[in-house]
Amino acid sequence: MAPPAAIVGIGQTRFAKHLGISEAQVAAEAIHAALADAGLAPRDVDGLCLFDIESNTVGDVAAMLGLGDVRFFSTHSHGGGSYCAVVRSAATALAAGHASVVVAFRARNRGRRSSFGKGYTEGGRPWEKIAPRIAGFYQWQVPFGLVSPVQEMALIARRHMLDHGTTEDHLGEVAVAMRHHATRNPNALMREPMTLADHRASRFVAEPLRLLDCCLETDGGCAIVLASRERARDTARRPVWILGSAQTNGPAHHHPHDWFAYERRRWVTEAAARLWGEAGVRPSDVDAAMFYDHFTPMVLLALEDWGFCGHGESGGFVAGGGIRWPDGRLPVNTHGGQLSEAFIHGFNNWTEAVRQLRGTSTAQVPDAELVLVAAASSDPYGAVLLAR
């Protein structure tokens, strides 16, 4: 079966700790760049997909850019867990004929200075802005002292260490590999070479996780343009096809008290089986992967979840340089990822995946044909497989 949709344009803004422009302008610049790359005009766009953590709404963006008749739009919840769902939703709409050109994007103003006077979704770390009374699931964590994502991830990482012998150096190797890739990428915010010793010397944030286990806080935006099979054939670029995709939201996600209680492994394993089955390929066929690396342990989980190694074997997989470009078994985040390029809630993983399949990455995998993009392992979850 021919793929139903393709990515035909990518665009991004400058990445910085503080851009000094509005989140709306970040979105406008990223979408402009992506449409120019595709050789399309705003009026050609008839679909729009975004996150619910976005402060820009569908209406804002359509009005701001003078889009065409936006006959398909969707907004997805769960932050980093849904940047693949956003694109999957776009591809599904294109396959169904509900749209012919869909823009998906993430624009972000999170630098501390950008956050002044802003609401919950715009600027600053959300966990610092929590209300004095909490009604949602955070009432089961924040009043007790578990207040930020890194602390949640630390509980997951610690248990992985207990169960599988994973070490702090395994986590460190993830950070070191991402930085190794970023040193080649002129857009990356962190380009100084990093060693395991640097990782070990960085301060603890939430043991066993250190500062260098954490992603950056970045202002910036990335956008992609997707087109239907028919439309993709007459755009400016060689299309990058959506070969397969999967999502899952079992009961075992995100909150530490649910994470270990409800057989998380089962849900992600079934999602992976659906993905590979739909695409008709195996993990060993994949040339590179873009994983949601908001924290280093999540790269280890992604390797296991999508079948690149066995359950509990990810530490050994990365220890020998398994995720490093150019010689690793699976080069991961060849742009430097959220850990070293920029934290655009995973959307810079799309731009890099497309660059790999166009042959234009600064850490190019020779002749890359198949790239997996996967969402945050800590959330309702998903992945999209892209092919040249």
Partner: protein, 135 residues
């Protein structure tokens, strides 16, 4: 009582009984009337069998450490004076997991399987918060 209050819970009909229990220094949990599974956090249906029927009970308040982290800065102002502090994911005797501060325990002594018991601290007129100590 801390100078800066942590964010406090805003109970709703699903969660009121848990927080009322804390005020009485009792750990109140739900148990499914159909499959018998005890659960946390409170919710209207059973994650195992989807039954809408449940009964509240008072848990023993004992469990073991399943995972933990030592929290360093940054954290919220209410917890800044405690840094570094231990947060444990506790597996209760009745089955469910929940998180809480682990107090009165040197970080080097924390390990998986460490037996812990719940304590409560009155932090506001209408709120008491649970934490954990070695048992």
């Amino acid at each position: 009582m801390a100078d800066v209050l942590p964010p406090l819970p805003q109970p709703n009909p699903d969660t009121q009984e848990f927080w009322d229990g804390c005020r009485r220094h009792e750990l109140r949990l739900q148990r499914c009337d159909d499959c018998g599974t005890a659960r946390f956090s409170p919710r209207p249906a059973c994650p195992r069998c989807a039954s809408l029927r449940h009964t509240w009970f008072t848990a023993a308040g004992r469990g073991t450490v399943y995972s933990w982290t030592i929290v360093h800065a940054p954290t919220l102002p209410a917890f800044a004076a405690r840094v570094p502090y231990a947060m444990a994911l506790v597996e209760l005797e009745e089955g469910p997991f929940l998180v809480g501060q682990l107090r009165d325990c040197e970080p080097a002594k924390i390990r998986a399987g460490l037996r812990v018991a719940v304590r409560f601290e009155d932090v506001a007129e209408d709120v008491a918060l649970p934490h954990w100590r070695p048992a």
